[in-house]
Assembly symmetry: C2
Homo-oligomer: 357 residues x 2
C-alpha cells in the first residue's frame, strides 16, 4: 500500500485523450492493489504557450520536481508551427528532459502475437520481436553549442554541434548493460565510428563498460546498417544503445515492427529526481479530439512508471496483461485496423483494459 | 559512336568482383552500340593502404580527374578496422567525394516485380515502389570542423560539427526539383527542423528553391517520421532530398524495399569534373572472393553512368532491360534467395545480363 504523487502533463492533440485513459487505468490499479495515486495536472507544449506564454512554465517544472513521477502526453501541432524556435511546443519537451536530467530514454519494442499482421513487415519476421532501445536523451546534437545561424563573408551558414562527454556515454551504456543482464544478455551499440569522432569515443567507452559485464555480449553496429537490420532481421536485437539523434530515428523506424506507433511506451529516467513516462507517438493533430487515438502506448507507459519508478512489478504486469487481453479479444483502435478485429474508440479500449487489470 | 575514358576503382572485398562484372557488361554495350570504352584501374581504400600507404593515393585522384567518369566498387574490411582514422579505407571514399566535389548522391530505389517477395516488407507495400533519394554528399557532419577529441578540466569529450552553407543546400535541393520534374513532380525534403538550426536553414532554402519550380510539389518531413514512413507507406515518395547523414541512414533503410542492398546503384555527381558511380552496398568481406556477390548494383551503376555522364540513354536502358530480363528469367544471387528462382553465381548473373544487352 503506497502513496504516489504523479504529475500529469497532457500537452497537445491526442496527448489529452491518451493520458486521460492512462490515468483511468492507474486509478483502477490503485483500487485493485490498494495504492493511492494522486494526480496533479500541469501545462506543457502548445497548451502552455497558449495559456502561460512559454512551452515549459516554471510552475510545471516545480510540480514535476515535487512529484514521484511524471506522465506526459504529447506536444506540438500546426497551430504553433510558425512560432519562433523558443516558442515551439517541442522546446517544452527538450527543456523538461534537460531540467529533470532525463538522460536515459527506454523504448521497448514488442510485437504482440495478435498484432503481427498489423506490421508492414512480414509476420514471421516480427513475431516474437522483443528488444529495447536505450536512447541517450540529454546530450549530443540536441543540446550541443554552438547551434545557430551565422553570416560569414556574406555567406549564410547554420551550425549544430554534436558533443559527448565520456561520462555521459558511460552512464547510458551502463544502463544498457544493466538492462541486458535481466534480458537476453546482448547489447548492440549503434554509432557511426567510421565518420564521427564522437562515435569513436562512444565505441571506446562502450568497450570499457563492457569489461564490467563479462556475462553480456557487446556488438557494435554502424547506424546505417542498424537502420537496415532493424527491418531485415529484427529478432537479432536484445538491447540497442545509441546516442540521442540516432535513437530518435531508429526508434521511430522500429515502431513499425509492433504494428503501430500507437503501441509504444517509453520511460525517460532521471539520474536523481523523478522520471518521466510518455507514449512514443506524437500529438497527431489530425485525429485529436476524435476519440479514436490508441491509448495503449500511454497505458503501457503508466505500467513502466509503476515498475521503474515505484517498484510495483505485479501492478505493472497487471496492466500489461490487461492490454494483451484486450488485443487478444480483438479490440483494435483505428491505427491497428489492418489486423483483424473490432475497431473501437479510445474510450472503449480504455474501458476494456481498466476492467481487466 | 563515342570514346569514353572510365576510371575503375575496385577497392576491397566484393568491390573487385562486382566492378569486374560491370566492366564486362559495359564492354558488351560498347560492342553492341559501337562505343569505345577505355578502362584504367586505380587503387582506393584498404587495397590502396596496403600497396601505397594511403587510402586515396595522388595517382588515383589524378586518374579520376583525367577520366570521363569513375566506377567504384566498395571499400573497407576487418583487416583495417583497427587502423588509426586517417588510415581507414573509408577515408579514401570521403576524400574522393570531397576532392572531386561529388555533392549530389543519387540513390534510386526501385522494387522489381519479380523481387517483391524478397523484401522483408509485405509484397503489396513494395510492389511498384519507385523513388529516388538525393543525398547531399560533401557537407554536413561528415566534413564540419571542429571534429575531434578534447580534454577540458580533466573531462574527456568528443565533438563533431554539422555545418551547412546556404549555397550547399540550394544546389542539392535544386537537383532534387530538377529530377522531380522528369518524374512524379513531388519532392520530400527531410530534416529535423524542430531541433536543428541547420535543418531550419535547410527548410527555408527548400522553400525558396521551390518557388522556381511551381509545377513541383514540396513537402517537408521530419527525419524520424521519414524513417517510419519509408516502411509504412513507401509508395508515397517520388524524390527525397536530405542532408548527408540522414541520407546515409535512410538510403540503407530504403534498400530493404528492393529486396536486397545488392540491387541498389548510386551516382555521385560533381558540379564540374567527372562523376562517380558505385553500388550502395559495402565490401561484404564475409563473402568476398566467393563469387556469390550480387553484381546488379554495380551493373546498374554503370547504366547510370551511361545516362548521366555520357548522355547515352538508350544504352543505359539496354542494361536496365537486361537486368530485368535476368530477374524475370529467375536468376537469383544468394542475397535474393528468399524469392523464388534459381540461385546463381556472380559470373552466371553477369553472363546472362551481358548477353542480353
Ligand atoms: C518532438 C521531438 C523534439 C522529439 C525528439 O526528437 O526527441 C520526438 O521526436 C521524440 O522522439 O521524443
Ligand atoms: C563508408 C561510409 C563512410 C559511407 C558513408 O557513410 O557515406 C557509406 O556508408 C555510404 O553510404 O557510402
Amino acid at each position: 500500500m503506497g502513496n504516489y504523487r504523479i504529475a500529469v502533463l497532457p500537452g497537445d492533440g491526442i496527448g489529452q485523450e491518451v493520458t486521460s485513459g492512462a490515468v483511468d487505468v492507474l486509478k483502477a490499479v490503485g483500487i485493485r492493489f490498494g495504492h493511492e495515486f494522486t494526480f496533479e495536472y500541469g501545462l506543457i507544449g502548445g497548451a502552455a504557450i497558449d495559456e502561460a506564454g512559454t512551452p515549459l512554465p516554471e510552475e510545471t517544472l516545480r510540480l514535476c520536481q515535487q512529484s514521484d513521477a511524471v506522465l506526459l502526453g504529447a506536444v506540438g501541432g500546426p497551430k504553433w508551427d510558425e512560432n519562433p524556435p523558443h516558442l515551439r511546443p517541442e522546446k517544452g519537451l527538450l527543456a523538461i528532459r534537460q531540467q529533470l536530467g532525463l538522460y536515459a530514454n527506454l523504448r521497448p519494442v514488442v510485437c504482440y502475437d495478435s498484432l503481427a499482421s498489423a506490421s508492414p513487415l512480414k509476420p514471421d519476421l516480427v513475431q516474437d520481436v522483443d528488444f529495447i532501445i536505450v536512447r541517450e536523451l540529454t546530450g549530443g546534437i540536441y543540446f550541443g553549442q554552438p547551434s545557430g545561424r551565422v553570416v560569414e563573408n556574406g555567406e549564410e551558414k547554420a551550425v549544430d554541434t554534436l558533443l559527448y562527454k565520456k561520462e555521459e556515454i558511460e552512464r547510458i551504456v551502463r544502463m544498457a548493460f544493466t538492462l541486458a543482464r535481466g534480458r537476453k544478455k546482448k547489447v548492440t551499440s549503434v554509432d557511426k565510428a567510421n565518420v564521427l569522432s564522437s562515435s569513436r569515443l562512444w565505441r571506446e567507452v562502450a568497450e570499457e563498460v563492457a569489461k564490467q559485464f563479462p556475462d553480456v555480449e557487446l556488438e557494435h553496429m554502424l547506424v546505417d546498417n542498424a537502420a537496415m537490420q532493424l527491418i531485415r532481421a529484427p529478432k537479432q536485437f536484445d538491447v540497442i544503445v545509441t546516442e540521442n539523434m540516432f535513437g530518435d530515428i531508429l526508434s521511430d523506424e522500429a515502431s513499425m515492427l509492433s504494428g503501430s506507433l500507437g503501441m509504444l511506451p517509453s520511460a525517460s529516467l532521471s539520474a536523481s529526481g523523478p522520471s518521466l513516462y510518455e507514449p512514443v507517438h506524437g500529438s497527431a493533430p489530425d485525429i485529436a479530439g476524435m476519440r479514436k487515438a490508441n491509448p495503449i502506448a500511454a497505458i503501457l507507459s503508466a505500467a513502466m512508471m509503476l515498475r521503474l519508478s515505484f517498484g510495483l512489478a505485479a501492478e505493472a504486469e497487471a496492466i500489461e496483461h490487461a492490454v494483451q487481453q484486450a488485443l487478444t479479444a480483438g479490440l483494435r483502435t483505428a491505427d491497428l485496423a489492418q489486423s483483424s478485429g473490432r475497431v473501437v474508440s479510445t474510450d472503449e479500449m480504455v474501458e476494456e483494459i481498466k476492467t481487466a487489470v
